[in-house]
Structures are given as C-alpha cells and as structure tokens.
Symmetry: C2
Subunit: 342 residues, 2 copies
Amino acid sequence: MDKQLIVENIHVRATRDDFEVVGVFNPAVIRLGDETVMIARVAESVVQNHRDHYLVPFVNGTGNIEMKSIPKQSAEYDYSDLRIIRNEKTSYLTSISHFRVARSTDGVTFDFNGPVRIFPETIYEEYGIEDPRITCIDDVYYITYTAVSRHGINVGLMRTVDFERFERLGIIFHPDNKDVVIFPEKVKGRYFALHRPSLSAFGRLDIWTAESSNLISWGNHKVMVEAVPKCSVTKRIGAGAVPFLTEKGWVVVYHGADAQSRYYLTVMLLDKDDPNKVLAKSRRPLLEPTEPFERLGFMNDVVFTCGLVVDEEAIRIYYGVCDQSIACCTVSMDELWSNLEV
Amino acid sequence: MDKQLIVENIHVRATRDDFEVVGVFNPAVIRLGDETVMIARVAESVVQNHRDHYLVPFVNGTGNIEMKSIPKQSAEYDYSDLRIIRNEKTSYLTSISHFRVARSTDGVTFDFNGPVRIFPETIYEEYGIEDPRITCIDDVYYITYTAVSRHGINVGLMRTVDFERFERLGIIFHPDNKDVVIFPEKVKGRYFALHRPSLSAFGRLDIWTAESSNLISWGNHKVMVEAVPKCSVTKRIGAGAVPFLTEKGWVVVYHGADAQSRYYLTVMLLDKDDPNKVLAKSRRPLLEPTEPFERLGFMNDVVFTCGLVVDEEAIRIYYGVCDQSIACCTVSMDELWSNLEV
C-alpha cells in the first residue's frame, strides 16, 4: 500500500501572531469535476510563553476569541491528556479548531493558506469545530461536523453550493455524539446517517443508524451491533468516510481504536436497502499506523479518515495522522473486496 | 400544601412468584373525560434467597425474562448504588421496570393489579422501561419513556388510542438521554419537546429543546441555558410533567437534584412562541421532600414528577416518592404565579 504524507501543520499559517498551528488533519473530501476539494480541520494553540500559566483559547458569545488562564501546576487540574485540561467541574481544550478549504487538480497538492471561511461562532462551537464530512445531495454540499463547548460534544450541519459561503443548519445530533456521515442517496425514500453516541453509564461505543426526511430532524435510531470489527481488538469505533454505493451494497471505511487509543481503519459492507444490516466485514484492518508519520506526532499511532474519493478501479482514502497532518493512500477495489468476508 | 400518598408498592402484585415489587412510581397521567388515567412504572426485583450471589433480571432477545448471577462479594463489582451493580465493563440494574395502566374517577384511587399491557421487549429495553409521560395530540396518546439496555439510556415513543393496545414507534432520542416531554400543541407549525442529554466529558446536565414535523425525527437541538433554577443548589435538572399552555406562556414543572441526589420540584414559564426562551422561574422550590413518605424509602429524599392535571383554579401534581410510591398534591394557580418571577 502506497501511503503518502501530503499536508503538514508546519506549512499552514496561523490565524494570529500569538497562535501556532498544531495540526491540520481529519479532512472532508469530495470530487468536483476535475478538482478534489478538501475541508481540513486546523487546530491552533496559543504560543505558551508564560512561566506559571497556560492560556487556552475559546470563542465567546460574540464570536471573538478569548483566553482562559489556567495555572501550570495545580492539584485542581488534570493535565495528563495533551488535548484536554480538566478539573472537577469541566474540561478545556488546549487548542481550538476551525476549517479551511483547498482545491487540488492532482489530488495531492493542497494549499491551506487562503482565506479562512469557516470559523467557530455559535455557543455550541465555543471550543472549536472538528472532523468535517461532506455529502453531495442534489448539487448541494452538506457538511456534518463536531461542535465542542460547555454544552457537550454536539453534531452540527452546514451547507454550501460554492465552498465560499457556508450556511449553518443547527445541531442535528444532541450531545454526546460524533462521527456522523450522511449517505449520498436516499434509501427507500429516507435519508440515512451513521452516528456514534458516547454513553456515560451503560453501553459500548457503537455505530448507530438514523433516518430523516429533511436532513435536519433525525429519528428511528438503531444500533449496529454487528459493526464491531472482528479483525482487531477494539475499544471504540466510529464512521469514517461517507459511504459509497456499489453493486454489492454500501461500503463504509471506518475507524477502530484499542484501549491505548491506537487507531486503525477497517471496512464493512451494508445492505443496499437497509444500512443497519452488516453484510460483510474486514478480514484484516484496511490500514494501520506503520509509517513514521503515522506513528509519531501530536497523538501517536492515529490514522483517522473523514473522506475518500472513488474511481473505477480504486479508492483514494484521505486521512489524518497523529492529529497533526494529512496523508492519503490508494486501495484497489480488488483488494477491498478480497478483504471483506460475509 | 396538601400532600397525599396514594399508591404504595406493597399493594401491587408482582408478575411472577419469584419477583417482588420494589416500587410503583413516576407515573404519567392524563385526564380522559371524567376519569384520570395513570401509567405507572412498576419495578420488580428477584426475591434474593441465595447466600453467595444476586440474581438480576433482564429481557432477552425473544422478549423473555432471564437472570444473570452476580457474586455477592467480589472486588470486581461496585455495589454502592442500590439500583445498579457495576463492573469495569458494564452496569446491571437490580430491578426491571414495566408499565401498568389504572383509571380512577376520584383522582386518588388507582388499582394497578389489572393485566400488564406494557412489558419491556426490544433490545433497547433489556433492563426495563421507565418514567413514562403522556401527551394527547389529535385524540392519539403518545408516551415517551426511558429504555435502558446494554445500548445505553435511550428515549422511546409509543402510542395508543385506548390504553389497552400500545404501538412502539422506535427510539426518538439516541443515548444517553431521558426526561423527554412532548408539548401537546404545535408551536409555529412544529412539534416541540424538552429533553435531557447526559454528557460524558464536557458540559452540564441541562434541559434542551428539539423540534419535529412528525414526532419521530427530532432536530434543531438547543440548550436552555436559563432553565437552571435560582432557588436551590442544583447538580442536575430534567423536565417533569408535560408542559401546559396558559395566557402567559407554557408552564413546566420540572425537577432538580443536588450532588447528594436530594430532589425537589420547581417551575418555569416558557415563551408561547419560542419554548427555548425562559420568561420566569420559581422564587422557591414548588415542592421538597418534607413528609416521612417523601424522605425515607428505596431512595431517600426523592420527589419526581412525570405528570399533572390542570383545573381552572389549580393543578394536581402526581409524583413518585423515593423511587417507591406515588403521591399527589394540589397547587393553586395563584400560588404558582406568585412563585414565578421574571
């Protein structure tokens, strides 16, 4: 498998002088004529040059960036996760993410230093917007994304027709939820999505399906008990790229992670008329962290996809590595089918 | 305030000889002509007569009761909560709840020993069904309820026209969520509900609103940041009775609880045309545990409402006490309005 690192955080300029880009990763991607359009998550941290406190950024009620000061050594706080500083009451993210758009004709050269068109602004986006996925329905591009705030981990929806102006359509899955992909076609007259609720007391981190007539309101939630991979030890899973339809059914490339948060990508085949039904799953992981750029970074051993493009003979998977950079790889359809077993 | 204990668990027969009814509580209630119809949650435990293990009941894939055996003294399990036995992987409920229907002409005499018409049966109801609320829309009675299983704490919907046959309409709010009440009228052409997502990492336990065109699919989720009571220390809140419309707006009687899980009832007034907008809140709790039957029981100091009936001059609130019995009390509209402040 030919893996290629295509975008690195060091090549992306921060939105402010006192910020640094710590990651450009987990991109949504879609084919648009001869171009490949990518919406990447760009995570920025405050350049930390204070001896006794950290500054963590957030977006206030009027859509502007503010900083919260957190002491560097306090028994009140837990600093063990690089991404999060917690105390008993709440959690703060050490970075804040926004989205940037880039277009490419060769599918591997993307420049993210153009104007920033999608910045967190609502109360649900106080700590940032993350992990976009694009679905094209009737020439409109719908983008699902994770919105993080004091009000939990919500899933928002926005739409665009030109990738310049984006309209927010509100929160479509209440907290906590993430990893939402909308199917590009109706199934038996209804829109379908995969989603991943996070549970607090009972239950596992499973993939669920939901249905909608208008993309805004979702119901008939059903757990996909069969989606848990057979091919690897798994603590949690979540939908990855937007599903694509083949003669055999819907193909979904998704992620799994073990208890040490080592991620891998895997694949399943869903029934064409009932996406809640798993017809086949990977014999072995589709992609695992093996290259140095997949193994070492802001978070080690992370490969995480939010999008792919489909050609006749192969799919090209774009994926975030180590919550820091973007890579891609090509998997032939032959390889995909031989990996799937009923 | 005239509080009255009206149904006790000791007066309700178990569904099996090896079960005992540990609670009849948290009833949905609705006025139907001259009658008051009540749907109560009935919690049953296995009569425990084994020296070295507990038996916890659950409903299996074919809708039948099975037992899981859990050792009585094992370092693997946490027995500190009377309602739940946990280990690292999952949680089990010590009782399983179903619903029973009773009708009353005087509003205080209810007999729950008739046929059991609503028993847990789907994979989302494996550990029981809890805390129903009834809303009448166009002569159909819609019942929201909590469904507990290995797949988390979901919110299901069922409907009936005769309170004898009940049709399930699926899961309307994915896990974890509970305390869902549907408004009895559309607001600006859309159905509205209050719901209470449970968050795992970020965020508080707040009340949210959602909208729907068909009662099945819900979206446009919004947090009611203003719903947190001013009148008492509060760790979590949740909608209680189905809202009722007055000239001043929607009146919602709901619960709050402190960190020690001492519950109280309180009230808020919502904008007639925008139920996300809180116009007024209680100066003081509407109802607190003061009577012996409210203070001591299976869970101490719990008052929890799922329903009330409205007369011209007063409301009669029905509420579960101590996760064990049912009480009611009457609050005059004068008292209600004098308790609300903008």
